[in-house]
């Protein structure tokens, strides 16, 4: 038995770039009142099945058809061609912006959402306190939703969700916002539901999130399936393709900027560039010692118009064997730079750099919102020497002490 079955599904949307329908157009026979209009194919011949209890991740860059796929799976809209079967007991969080009435309070919206989800009035009122409790919004539940941040909307949406036990749960990149603790709580709830037999359909740009939640992944590309399989295989392929695309898009030649040279230690399409990287320990000019704080400031500029929601990555490798010490990204930590970024500055602060003395080098990069390719990646460009007690080896020098009894 499956909770979701797509059989040769095609989906077209109206082409909004075409001129709107007017009486003049209808009379001049350029358009018809009810007939076919110019359309764009968002999904092409998709065949897929999600068995009960299964979990499927969806990946692909913007415009690949992810949202269309998820909307259809949630029962919104009908396929233009093909056959679609959806379990009636499906719950979805598709977009945070449009699912609430901005004028009504969080509490009123939660009650409405519960009734919309199919509860009776009595049931909804009985469960409302638990839902609001889950959101941790406190007194803000009495404020209109228009005053909410994205993170608060996520809290509200998940509060309602947490009270449901659907057979299929669909999430469209909603867990990218909000603070870490709450996202963890959401993930725990999802895991709980999965144990109870709920199937999961999850679209995400976070490869870690997909790895943590999904058994299988479908990679959509231009409305079709580019790859399907178990999570590791598909995501590895996706990452390899990202590296290849980055290399392909890296311009040849170009001026040498300081120690950076394109195609040698600098890769990426250069749609957005990393202009400056400042590394600082306790204070400017001082050497970095083991256990010191470390601040990495990255300045970014878009070269060809603003870019959408870029991801900034900072990773550290040990000199010599290139062992990865850490690999941090704004995406993994739920930090966004904004919808349209023309110029930006990001600072990564590490409280204590608990590393053995030695030579290291930082990689700094900025990526397309779906990890499709790198805009600019500076590979092993920023050396970092850590001073500290001699003799320590290994990747980590944790705060430690010995207690002896002889």
């Amino acid at each position: 038995m499956s909770v979701l079955r797509f059989e040769g599904v095609w989906k077209a949307y109206r082409d909004w770039t075409q001129p709107p329908r007017t009486l003049r157009g209808v009379l001049a026979r350029r358009t018809s009142v009810f007939g076919a209009r110019a359309r764009r194919w968002a999904l092409r011949d998709l065949t897929l099945e999600l068995p009960a209890g299964g979990s499927l991740g969806v990946i692909g860059h913007n415009g690949a058809g992810k949202s269309t796929f998820l909307r259809l799976a949630a029962g919104l809209g009908r396929p233009t061609r093909g056959r679609l079967t959806v379990d009636p007991d499906t719950a979805a969080v598709l977009s945070l912006g449009s699912s609430f009435d901005p004028q009504l309070t969080g509490r009123e919206n939660a009650l409405t959402a519960a009734l919309v989800a199919g509860m009776t009035r009595r049931e909804a009122q009985r469960r409302l306190p638990a839902m609001l409790d889950f959101t941790e919004l406190g007194e803000f539940v009495a404020s209109p939703v228009r005053t909410y941040s994205e993170g608060m909307k996520l809290r509200l949406a998940f509060g309602v969700m947490a009270a449901l036990e659907p057979r299929l749960l669909i999430l469209d990149e909603v867990l990218a916002v909000g603070d870490l603790a709450f996202r963890q709580k959401c993930h725990e709830r999802i895991a709980e539901l999965r144990e109870g037999g709920t199937s999961l359909l999850l679209a995400s740009h976070s490869l870690d999130e997909l790895r943590a939640n999904c058994e299988h992944v479908v990679w959509l590309h231009r409305g079709g399936v580019r790859a399907f399989g178990d999570v590791e295989t598909v995501l590895d392929e996706y990452e390899r393709a990202s590296i290849e695309r980055t290399y392909e898009r890296t311009p040849v030649g170009g001026p040498r900027e300081g120690r950076l040279r394109l195609r040698e230690n600098r890769f990426g399409s250069q749609e957005m560039t990393v202009d400056a990287v400042e590394i600082q320990g306790t204070a400017p000019g001082l050497p970095v010692r083991s256990g010191d704080p470390l601040h990495v400031r990255v300045a970014l500029t878009a070269t060809d118009g603003p870019v959408k929601d870029p991801i900034v990555v900072v990773s550290l490798r040990r000199a010599g064997d290139q062992a990865v010490v850490f690999d941090l990204s704004t995406r993994a930590d739920g930090v966004t730079l904004g919808r349209e970024v023309a110029r930006g500055e990001v600072t990564l602060s590490i409280e204590r750099l608990e590393l053995p003395a030695g030579d290291y080098a930082l990689d700094v990069g900025v990526f397309e919102a779906a990890w499709e390719h790198a805009y600019d990646y500076h590979w092993q460009t920023y050396p970092l020497t850590v001073e500290g007690p001699p003799g320590a080896t290994g990747l980590l020098l944790p705060v430690h002490r010995w207690t002896t009894e002889a």
Binding site: S2, Y13, R14, V33, F34, D45, L46, T47, L48, E49, L50, P51, A52, G53, G54, L56, A74, G75, L76, G77, R78, R83, L84, T85, V86, D87, P88, D89, T90, A91, L94, S95, S99, F100, D101, Q103, L104, L111, T112, A113, L115, V116, A117, G118, M119, T120, R121, A124, R167, E195, G196, G197, E215, H216, G224, V225, R226, F228, G229, D230
Partner: protein, 290 residues
């Protein structure tokens, strides 16, 4: 482009379904089926009532007179009509205020409900975009909200009728007539709300229709005042039958005429059938148009 049938065909399949998941199996018909199915009448009714309550609360939020406004509007209209047709142009109808008010209550409900219904789906994109939301509730809510205005005006109308000595036991039939009018309007509301999603001209057309219908319904005049050769014109408008029936039981103290009952019943059945058929057909496309 590669298409692979999903996990069902893979060698490493998914957890044993029978072991972990609930045993009840929803019937899955062979044709396309959406998540909107599966909801009891009780749940649907609760949702409609909740949305009506919400609508009433938000309309009257931040107003001084609140609930009294719809009543004031009806009374203002009543005052103008009574002044015009008993003082300026005397139509010679006995107990004219009670006569007009009877027709006006039914009319106000009709006008407010259908105007609201025409944009009910279009204006509630945030609800329609929710996978579990049944859009059919929206036109029903649009018809239900102004029923509250009717219930506000009713005590006043009954007092007016009683002081004129016109209130008889036939008035007990009113709830039945209101229920019939609700069903009739629900059918029309389904038609206009669904059509307006595809053709926004509908809500403007409804506005024009309301302007015409106010004069083509015997509200401030009676059918008797019209030359018989024009009766067909007013008979084309089913609302005439509802107003006539209301007037029979309230104002005249008689049972409704058979022709009015027949037309009202026929129009209600027709409107409901057409409304449900059209709405069911158009509904799956709503989200793509909003």
């Amino acid at each position: 482009m590669v298409n692979i049938v999903g996990s069902a065909s893979r060698t490493n399949p998914l957890p044993d379904v029978t072991a972990s998941s609930p045993t009840e199996q929803a019937p899955l018909p062979a044709t396309a089926q959406t998540a909107r199915a599966g909801r009891s009448w009780r749940q649907l009714g609760d949702l409609v009532l909740h949305l009506v309550r919400r609508e009433l609360a938000s309309t009257h939020r931040n107003t001084l007179l609140g609930w009294a406004w719809p009543l004031l509007r009806q009374l203002a209209q009543l005052a103008v009509l009574v002044f015009l047709f008993s003082k300026v142009l005397n139509l010679n109808i006995a107990d004219y205020p009670a006569f007009v008010f009877t027709g006006l209550v039914a009319w106000s409900w009709f006008q407010t409900a259908l105007t609201a219904a025409s944009y009910s789906v279009v204006a509630n994109g945030h609800l329609v975009g929710n996978p579990r939301f049944p859009p059919i509730t929206l036109p029903l809510v649009a018809v239900g909200v102004p029923l509250f205005d009717v219930l506000m005006a009713l005590p006043l109308l009954l007092v007016l009728l009683a002081t004129e000595g016109r209130l008889t036991d036939t008035a007990l039939l009113l709830p039945l007539l209101l229920a019939a009018q609700f069903a009739f309007m629900a059918g029309l509301a389904l038609v206009v709300s669904a059509a307006n999603v595809y053709l926004r001209d509908v809500q403007s057309a409804v506005g024009v229709a309301m302007l015409l219908l106010f004069y083509l319904t015997p509200i401030f005049y009676g059918l008797k005042k019209i030359p018989p050769e024009y009766h067909w014109l007013l008979r084309l408008n089913p609302l005439t039958a509802f107003v006539n029936a209301d007037r029979a039981v309230l104002y005249s103290g008689t049972l409704p005429a058979l022709i009015d009952v027949g037309i009202a019943a026929g129009a209600t059945a027709l409107a409901l059938a057409a409304g449900l058929a059209l709405f069911r057909r158009l509904q799956p496309g709503f989200v793509d148009e909003l």
